[in-house]
Amino acid sequence: MKYEVTYMTNEFTWKVGGAQGEGIDSTGEILATVLTRMGYYIFAYRHFMSLVKGGHTNYKIRASTTDPVYYHGDDLDMLVAFDQTTISENEDELIEGGIILHDAKFQAQTNRQGLQVCSVPLLDMAKELGNPIIKNMVAAGASAYVLDIDPSNFYEQIEQQFAKKGQELIDLNKTAFNKGYDYIKENYPDVRKPAPQATRPGSGYLLMNGNEAIGLGAVLNGCRILAAYPITPATEILYWVLANLPKYGGKVLQAEDEIAACIMAIGANYAGVRSMTSTSGPGLSLMMEALGMSGISETPLVIVDVMRGGPSTGLPTKTEQSDVNEALYGSHGETPRIVITPTSIPDCFYQIGRAFNLAEEFQVPVIVCTDLLIGMNKMSFQDLDLSTVDITRKNLVSQEQLDALEKGAFKRYSLDTESGISVRSIPGQKNGRYCALTNEHEETGLEIEDVPMRNAQMEKRFRKLNAMEQHINDWGYEYKGSETPDVLIVGMGSTQAQICEAIKQMDGQSVGHLQYRCLMPFPKDTQKYFQAAKKIYVVDNNFTGQLTGLISRELGFHDKLTPLLKYDGNPFTIREILAAVKG
């Protein structure tokens, strides 16, 4: 049964596809930038494969004139195809009467009836201009005519983009654009799907992906060392920080592996510098021993895990929420930790800032789990709130406090603490000497095995949970809708967008939406929503229902939870959620 998803008249969707290496991304980027400039809210989604040349790749844009777009949409208005594979792989997504604009170098075949198909000699026109790769700009011109976007918007973009490369290239690109535009105008004058007019031209929206938001948030919130190993889909964090951190005296280390990366970040935090590592699932697996090291030595640590399809090498270029169990429970032994799942691209910025403060306040590892959907895809939005930038360095011992102690009397792992947190000294501070230890230890950092001290230190570390639990109630989840809903839909992290949109389509029903942003410590006061609800659906982008499992462990309600599982590497669609919920 196919459920209808109603889109507003204030939006449209467009996609370009072809083989990897054909410049699909740059074609998409041009339109994404132009639309953002024109004052559209957009979400730009990249579908790609783990290879450099060949395969199938596409770039989809969903644009709205009125509201920020957090998801690229289930449906498609217009498809630009550089090859037949693009049509075969994407035609099902097109709406009734949707448009295919394809390169005339191949005979387009489609199984769909009632589509409008335009054949345009994209490559030939580019070759006439002496540069095959410029077919991207020809395609942009053709798209602009169909969408009725004034060419001046593209001219402006071309002038800026190629400013450093000279007038000749600017003119060439404009000519290519015009060729595409004029070709459609002459040959398919009636194939048009005018884009709704953007109402906020020149408002200067930000266009950013979650990886960039993480990098930006980290640098603004005092991160001064990033140690990482390249891995899709997290490498862009490394790039952005590398380009921007050195001018603030920060350092970026490309480590030999994720074991080293994570442990370098621990070493740097121990020495007093806010530091993090960024990775994806395979890297997170290698960091498990380091998690315990941070936990027992009570050294702050921030790990960003941009989740991709697992297990093992899995689906490196696809999305999934399947590292959650590892983030929650991975590593031998037991230590308290914090696991945060940002719910959108802008939220990545806010949560990474929070992560640095939490790591230092509680002296625990903080794992920020984003995913490929929000990590590598871009959206445009108005602004980021700089007033949230707050570098609060808690629980560091002052030199005055150390001077007041007898020589050698500093107890780094002091048990005399109600909160479980004991103040930390930084190498270089006089009379603050201690040995950070991965063995169980007494208060100054000598290893021990005696029962009372072991118990006391374990209990000390876990006392931190009380304060942590208090802390997360303000931000650890979001709830919208009826306080006593018939239907409760629960998600974590990036599924927020699709769940919101699905609920909008469920008019007249008593629905609640609970989105977790913090998984550990678990926001237990969400229990009230579960109690009230008659039916509960848990949107879990993985095979085994990792969020569902967490909820049943923490809250119970086993018999009331219906997991919605997806593990094919793609994000949930609105339709999938509606189908499950409407039953």
């Binding site: 930006l216 480590a255 074991i259 370098m264 621990i266 070493g267 020495a271």
Partner: protein
């Protein structure tokens, strides 16, 4: 001025006669001699008997994970280049589980001194073969003798780009001190591999055995530690049973050449970015 007492912390728990006592004592003496204060030194160790050194050395310390002393030490040095950072551990720790980090630390030339207490055996886990155990050496895990070739740490360090490579012997405290001192004073990555006999589990590579077999290149005329080819040849000639400064070169340390290199330690860099600059970082994304 700090004294020996300042660099002592509690009592070490090694077996009586263990070579590691000499390494700890030498390190303490060197730190006093060159006028370091305990708060300006950080000793990072791995896991194993030798790893306990960081608990008993009176400076700041991090007793890290098995094989991970070097990443920890490099993170610390990148955070605060003004600290004297010593990494220490055993042959299993450094050349077995940690050998990947070892090679990369050599090529990165991070300014730390890496002291390996090499006894050719796993001591704390009570007597298994180690990466430097000689071929044919019988242990609990090699009842018919070790089948593999041993790791050659000196050659490995040199070809991997370490800028200071020395080998010492716990039975020669004077030379040991001198080499540790040179290593600490050297700018860049320095390896000091120390033959540090295990008196409990290694009955072959004993103090006597080393005394009889060691060739001391510091006392050999014509040995030029800046000559890489000669160093490699000479080390091979002795089957690595030699001591002295075996190789050294002047090369910028990592913290001097890393992107964003600062005069002072990163830890002293202000964390707040002025509002207008924060705005301009955000404006990179404005379209």
């Amino acid at each position: 001025m700090a004294t020996m007492a300042d660099f002592r912390y509690d009592k070490a728990t090694w077996c009586p006669g263990c070579g590691d006592f000499s390494v700890l004592a030498a390190l303490q003496q060197v730190c006093v001699k060159i006028g370091l204060e305990p708060e300006d030194v950080c000793c990072v160790s791995g896991i194993g008997c030798s790893g306990k050194i960081s608990q008993h050395f009176g400076s700041y310390g991090f007793h890290s994970l098995h094989g991970r002393s070097l990443p920890t030490a490099q993170g610390i040095k990148m955070a605060n280049q003004d600290l004297t950072v010593i990494a220490a551990g055993g042959d299993g720790d450094g050349y077995g589980i940690g050998v990947g980090h070892f090679i990369h630390a050599c090529r990165r030339n991070v300014d730390i001194t890496y002291i390996v207490m090499d006894n050719h055996i796993y001591g704390l886990t009570t007597g298994q073969s180690s990466p430097t155990s000689k071929k044919g050496f019988k242990t609990k895990t090699s009842p018919k003798g070790v089948a593999e070739e041993p790791i050659k740490p000196l050659e490995l360090a040199i070809v991997s780009g370490a800028s200071f490579v020395a080998q010492a012997f716990s039975g020669d405290l004077k030379q040991l001190q001198r080499l540790i001192e040179e290593g600490i004073r050297h700018k860049g990555f320095s390896l000091i591999n120390v033959f540090s006999p295990c008196v409990t589990f290694n009955r072959v590579n004993t103090y006597e055995w080393f005394k009889e077999n060691i060739v001391n290149f510091d006392e050999q005329e014509g040995y030029d530690p800046t000559n890489k080819a000669q160093a490699l040849a000479k080390i091979a000639e002795t089957e690595s049973v030699c001591t002295g400064i075996l190789y050294r070169e002047d090369r910028p340390a990592f913290h001097e050449v890393v992107l964003g290199a600062t005069e002072q330690g990163t830890v002293k860099v202000p964390l707040e970015i002025p509002n207008d600059e924060m705005q301009s970082l955000i404006d990179q994304f404005r379209r």
